[in-house]
């Protein structure tokens, strides 16, 4: 999914690597400026490499929205050494998977390979990274595909709601953007734009290289010296960010022939660097982040049986990401579900958490950590996030304390400070007649 509501899992990141306080991996800054993070995990003959570039769709120049995504999509569609088809066949023959994915603030390149095929796979990864050719014919095809993808998602009412919500919440702000761009900007993109984006941002000093699996740091550094010796640093331009503004309370309704109303409501949340981040995590867990047992789930699903699922989240990023509550309910109960959810939130803001809720939330956040770091994929996904948010590889050891010291008063204060039902932006996608809502 390219539309940007980060899953909860990213909001609850970063826990400890179990009882012994062994660091998750090693960190080295290479001569070309790349940060290398390696977690040596020899038990399965495979290696996962996750290269995170610290630029994504937020770096799209005005009028060229969609270029970061188009660049990512085209990266594997031809290199100086291989046509798109030849590259695909080689990767398949090696049983390797290589994916490139642009996000708002980052672009990730992920390679999964058998250890025995690591050198061959890395050769292909290096080609893709440093010598893509961006053939015009491939670009034209990909453009049609991206547009088609956008069109096909219009049938998903949840996506339609989310998109309208973010457009309204972040006008003139990269977080309101579709990573894919818009039909008009996509149509205007030229090969030169893609080449320029690649030249500017696909640089080692803009990259975090994370590796997890059956390889040692020493061996991997040697492999990089062989395969990526030509990758040179360049200055990375800064991009400017507008301030996030709390919305005025309002409701947007969109009429669609659906059996369920899809509701998303929320406002501006917090940035990852906010010192209240941990109190907000605990607070949101109790409100609606914790699945079964959270206040929203208990009331709206278990007691009133209005929904299959309901949840709240704070998407904390470099800048203040959204706070959202998302639910689906049969058209006829849309207003009831919204009102009852608001009551839950208001009540929570008023009274704060109980001691029992606090204890349970903190216990879950701390104790669930080990379960998020079982596989090589888990670790390769987490390592660059730690680096991107300057959390350090000792963060896993610190996490239990960071959560542990959150008090009931802090959680209550966080609820009062970061939940604003008087600034709630609401989007309802529904069969409006059935939902008893006026058309706008």
């Amino acid at each position: 999914m390219k539309f940007q509501l980060l899953p909860l899992i990213l909001l609850l990141p970063l826990c400890t690597n179990f009882a012994e306080a062994a660091p998750l991996g090693t960190r080295t800054v290479l001569d070309n400026g790349a940060v290398l993070l390696v977690a040596e995990r020899p038990s399965i003959p495979m290696v996962v490499i996750n290269i995170l570039l610290k630029s994504g769709a937020a770096a799209d120049p005005a009028g060229k929205e969609g270029v970061a995504n188009l660049t990512a999509e085209l990266l594997t569609r031809g290199t100086k050494q291989h046509s798109a088809q030849a590259l695909a066949e080689e990767l398949d023959f090696l049983g390797a998977s290589l994916g490139v994915d642009a996000d708002l603030e980052t672009t990730s390149i992920t390679l999964t390979t058998l250890t025995k095929n690591l050198p061959a796979s890395l050769t292909l990864l290096a080609e893709v990274l440093t010598s893509p050719t961006f053939p015009v014919a491939e670009l034209d095809k990909k453009r049609v595909e991206i547009l088609g993808g956008l069109q096909s998602r219009e049938e998903d009412p949840g996506w339609v709601a989310q998109r309208a919500f973010l457009e309204q919440l972040y006008p003139q702000h990269p977080y309101g953007r579709l990573v894919e761009g818009q039909a008009a900007t996509l149509a205007a993109l030229k090969r030169d734009d893609v080449v320029a984006f690649h030249q500017t941002y696909f640089r080692p000093n803009n990259a975090i290289i994370a590796v997890a699996g059956d390889i040692t740091q020493e061996k991997f550094v040697k492999l990089l010296q062989t395969h990526l010796a030509e990758w040179q640093r360049e200055d990375i331009p800064d991009i400017s960010w507008p301030e996030e503004q709390q919305p005025a309370a309002k409701q947007i309704t969109i009429d669609k022939k659906v059996t369920q109303a899809n509701v998303i409501m929320g406002h501006i949340g917090i940035a990852r660097a906010n010192p209240d981040y941990y109190a907000v995590q605990v607070m949101n867990y109790i409100l609606g982040g914790g699945g079964f047992g959270s206040r929203l789930m208990d009331k709206i699903r278990e007691e009133l049986a209005l929904v299959y699922s309901i949840g709240s989240s704070f998407s904390a990023r470099k800048h203040a990401g959204p706070f959202t509550v998302v639910l689906q309910t049969k058209n006829a109960s849309a207003s009831q579900a919204v009102e009852e959810s608001l009551k839950v939130i208001n009540h929570f803001v008023e009274e704060g958490p109980t001691e029992k809720e606090l204890t349970e939330a903190k216990a879950y956040l701390v104790n669930s950590f080990p379960l998020r770091l079982v596989s090589n994929r888990d670790v390769a996904a987490l390592l660059p996030v730690l680096e991107f948010y300057n959390l350090g590889l000792d963060y896993p050891d610190r996490y239990p304390t960071l959560i542990g010291q959150v008090t009931r008063e802090q959680v209550h204060a966080a609820a009062k400070t970061y939940l604003h039902t008087d600034h709630l932006l609401r989007v309802v996608v529904a069969d409006l007649a059935q939902a008893g809502l006026p058309k706008q």
Partner: protein
Amino acid sequence: MYKRRFFLALFLLTFPFLSPTFLLAEEKNWPVTQETLPNGLEVILLEDHRAPVVTLQVWYRVGSRNEHTGITGISHLLEHLMFRGTPKYGQGEFSRLVQEEGGSHNAFTADDHTVYFENIAAPHLELLLELESDRMANLTLDETSFSAERKIVMEERRLRTADEPAADLYEQVSAAAYTAHPYGWPVVGWMSDLETMTLPEVKAYRQIFYVPNNAILVIAGDVSPAALLPKIKATFGAIRAGVPTPKVTSVEPPQRGERRVKLKRPASLPLYVAAYHVPTLKSEDSFPLALLSVVLAGGRSSRLQTALVEQKALALGADADYDRASQDPPLFTLSMRLAPGKRVQDAERALYREVERLQNKRVSPKELERAKNLVESSFVYGQDSLFYRAMQLGEYASLGDWELIRKFVPGIRAVSAADVQRVAKTYLREDNRTVGILIPEGKPIRERPSGAARGPLH
């Protein structure tokens, strides 16, 4: 949660083809202890000490396959009710106790089975034994829970099927492909059955199927079987055996002529599905069929991707799916989402041209090798997930023997180009297929939100 068999590939995106079947060839990678308790419960323990965590799964051999008309969806509704508490652990206690220890839990229902699972740090495994054995024996079923969960399931059906065009189409295709066999109705059940089902029906159903002799307990992770088995016997072992469960006897007769279903509804783009009746892993043909699905749609350079998406740009995506781990003969499906402005007839012709190419000419040794490499590497990557390994054990054990998984990679390696051609000819025949076409109707494109400021709802 419910899932239809041929949606697996959509859900398990990290294992893009034939997810449940990639297995470890090497003996040492499956250090399994197996025991059947006197009450009939099968216990399968897998030692994997990479991390101090465990996965526990209880597999009940009951799913939509065991239902009949009038009570379709009852297996899945019962799955929901299993979270509504027991006399000992009341409503909400299960979740609270598991989550407090950092554990996660959920369940899903499919056509062949209903599975409850938890992931938790290894020291808390005993809590799971206590909770899962307690609800196997002592579930509280009352009108309040029943009427609430019935409503929640209806919301789930609206969410996942009614407002989800692809799922809606698959439901129609299954219903047309199966005339006699229960795979024809949806796991979530028909809406009218959900509306009219009664609590006594659920109680009776539970009594038949939720017995230890119809269940498999799988535990994988940082465990010591010698220390664990006595604890399992003290909890699950104390539950009384039930009578043997009734057999499903319906057999789908051979299909004699193509069936076509059209579904007209709001949607963005046409969707096309061709579903063929094929055998399960009990047949040797299941190996070449598995490989055939990879040649067609595995990896980046597959035939359908190349022909339909890359070269002709007729489709935004194309897929082939076959899950051989099935109790009764499943469907082998080819599917594609059309690109904007393309005609169904043209995409269909191009799709069947690819099928015919496979029937008329053998795949090259290199292409065959590529497909086998994809299968084998996927299978190694599959070991990376503890949960997935436990899933494999449960799935194969529920089909009769977990050790069947050892035969998969050797079976795939032994397939010849002639085998692939033969199964393509035998099964991917026009007369053996059911075609489903989603035709967008109404207003597919969203209207612009007017964005006009309005006051709050109340």
